[in-house]
């Protein structure tokens, strides 16, 4: 099965339409080890380094992908569309998604999904039938359900931060049949793991998407274990099931309207509500909030989110992090101190 890559700085891209067209959706995450050198020819270095890393990967992978989809994740990367379209050779598609979730926004979203389906059908000569879409949704839901069960084990079993990251990365990049097998293996292995280590402090992780394991390793080294999160490469991806009893594209609109809200959408209240609920559900009182350098949506939200959670008596630290594979000693010191304050 051919790979269809997509660039999405949130969780907005309708993978199921691509699956129904006969492709494996592959979320472009960039390669932090490879850096951003080639992309820096087209994007200034004061833009989001993750976005530059993704473009860097796309430029190197020119022949490997049948096509590239571009989703409106955040406003800044949204405008990278033209840069990608001009410099990449594959068939290129645009999926627009609304900023809000009200009825008008849902109509707009539905039209965007209809257009994307029609564009794929025309470009590849395939028929994306309701039956194929329903089958793709069922497969996605099986994956999300397994991920939900596995993610819940973080609070009780010894599952490291990088292992959790690897589970989510696999789910958005590998062929979906293989993903189901892999998650099945984890379902057999993870429940048998030792209990949550006493030396570690459980936290909720929020903020910019963590797209490489380095940050998860820094947190692990600092003695902080992520047991809840609201990342697109995390709970946002598997939080809810896509409705299976309604017409497939309508179901996708409903699914995206109900997902935990990222900082790229307004108003931010729903994002805060999700964090409060997640903390209450899991009995957590500590949050690590972070934004990748130049990630404006999360940096804009951070002071308000931090203050609102502090008002609830939640211990919270906010950090800016770099796009680098090397251990960030300054971040480690801040995180270790935060853990020592929690002990």
């Amino acid at each position: 099965m051919q790979t269809f890559a997509y660039f999405d700085s949130g969780h907005e891209f309708p993978e199921e339409i691509v699956m129904a067209a006969g492709f494996t959706p592959y979320k472009i995450l960039g390669d932090v080890e490879a850096g951003t050198g080639a992309a820096d020819e087209y994007l200034h270095t004061y833009f989001c380094p993750f976005a530059r890393g993704a473009l860097n990967q796309a430029l190197a992978a020119d022949d490997d992908w049948a096509g590239i989809g571009f989703a409106h994740g955040c406003d800044a990367t949204n405008r990278h569309y033209d840069v990608w379209r001009r410099h990449l050779g594959q068939p290129f598609f645009w999926v627009n998604t609304p900023m809000k979730t009200n009825p008008t926004a849902r109509v707009f979203h539905r039209r965007g999904l209809d257009d994307f389906r029609a564009d794929l059908e025309k470009a590849y000569g395939v028929a994306i039938t309701p039956e194929k879409l329903a089958a793709a949704i069922r497969q996605s839901n099986r994956i999300k359900e397994k991920m939900r069960r596995l993610a819940a084990l973080r609070a009780t079993r010894d599952i490291t931060n990088p292992e959790y990251f690897e589970m989510v990365r696999t789910a958005v990049q590998e062929p979906r049949d293989r993903v189901l097998e892999y998650l099945g293996e984890l379902e057999r292995e993870w429940p048998a793991r030792p209990a949550f280590p006493r030396a570690l402090v459980p936290v909720l992780l929020t903020g910019s998407d963590v797209t490489f394991p380095g940050w998860m390793e820094v947190m692990e080294e600092a003695g902080l274990r992520v047991v809840r999160d609201d990342l697109s490469l995390g709970e946002r991806y598997f939080h809810a099931a896509i409705p299976e009893t309604v017409e497939p594209l309508k179901a996708l609109v409903e699914y995206y309207a109900l997902q935990p809200q990222p900082a790229t959408r307004v108003p931010s209240d729903r994002r805060l509500d999700y964090l409060k609920t997640a903390l209450w559900e899991s009995g957590l009182n500590a949050v690590v909030s972070q934004n990748l350098k130049f990630c404006e949506p999360y940096a804009i939200d951070a002071p308000w989110i931090v203050n609102e959670l502090k008002k609830q008596g939640i211990r919270i630290i906010h950090l800016e992090r770099e796009y680098t594979p090397t251990l960030d000693h300054q971040a480690l010191t801040r995180l270790e101190t935060f853990r020592q304050l929690l002990e």
Binding site: E320, Q330, T333, T337, Q340, L341
Partner: protein, 255 residues
């Protein structure tokens, strides 16, 4: 009980030796590029000066960015916790600590019992740190002591717009070529650093008494600029530069 604290900073490595509650010894050496060599030689020299053997040290705590290189440490504790413990030792009752070192600046809030209530650190940038001051002093052809002292005789503070170390150096060079008085430029640099530190602190979190530690605490101009912005007196303990090491030695007694 005899304890040692070693604080390996980006610029200097500090050691403090405590015997029961008495501060026996402190020393500061440049860290250099070889962190391991710096602390090992400092420890050996300290033991020699005090005529002690390593076995006569009950506990050793390492702190600072190089703390993980101290393989003989009984524990490694972050500099924030150590600076708090150090100031509680030298200035009990302090509620706010401003620590400006070579590579970063910190604000530590202490509760009434001397525990760390919260902390803030600078962004990942040299602006507002000792390194920034070193670069500015070099541009003005002054040593750090004169650099701090001269600003006190300035008749006004020139506005320094850039806080990026590289761009600020260019700005300072432009000001020199424009004929600005050196003292006024330095006062402007201090004001701009103080503004950045105060903004990091967030005015609502600052409680008196306020103490300042770290190598930059020796700079009287910075202290004055901070006092004016905070409208509070700032005390600088004699052990300001070795405060982290003292705190490490204090915490070593508790583990």
């Amino acid at each position: 009980m005899r304890t040692i604290g070693i604080d390996i900073g980006s610029t200097t490595t500090k050691i403090a030796v405590l015997e029961n509650d008495q501060l026996l010894y402190t020393e500061i050496v440049p860290t250099g590029y070889n962190v391991d060599k710096a602390w090992r030689e400092l420890l050996a020299a300290t033991l020699e000066n005090l005529r002690l053997r390593e076995s006569e040290i009950d506990r050793l705590v390492a702190t600072g960015y190089g703390r993980n290189s101290v393989d003989i440490a009984d524990r490694r504790i972050t500099e924030i916790m150590c600076h708090a413990a150090g100031i509680v030792y030298s200035r009990p009752g302090t509620r706010s600590v401003i620590d400006i070192g070579g590579q970063d600046s910190k604000f530590i809030q202490l509760d009434a019992d001397g525990n760390v209530a919260d902390f803030k650190m600078n962004d990942k940038c040299a602006a507002g740190t000792g390194r920034f001051l070193e670069v500015m002093a070099r541009a003005l052809e002054l040593n750090l002591e004169d650099f701090g002292r001269l600003s006190l005789v300035a008749n006004r503070a020139v506005k320094i717009s850039s806080m990026c170390t590289v761009f600020a150096e260019s700005e300072v060079i432009s000001l020199i070529s424009r004929g600005e008085e050196r003292e006024n430029i330095i006062a402007g640099i201090h004001e701009s650093i103080a503004g950045r530190v105060v903004s990091m602190m967030g005015r609502s979190g600052v409680k008196a008494p306020v103490a300042m530690t770290g190598g930059v605490a020796r700079n009287q101009g910075i202290r004055k600029a901070l006092e004016e912005k905070l409208k509070l007196n700032i005390t600088v303990p004699e052990t300001a530069q070795v405060n982290g090491a003292v705190g490490a030695a204090v915490l070593a007694r508790k583990i």
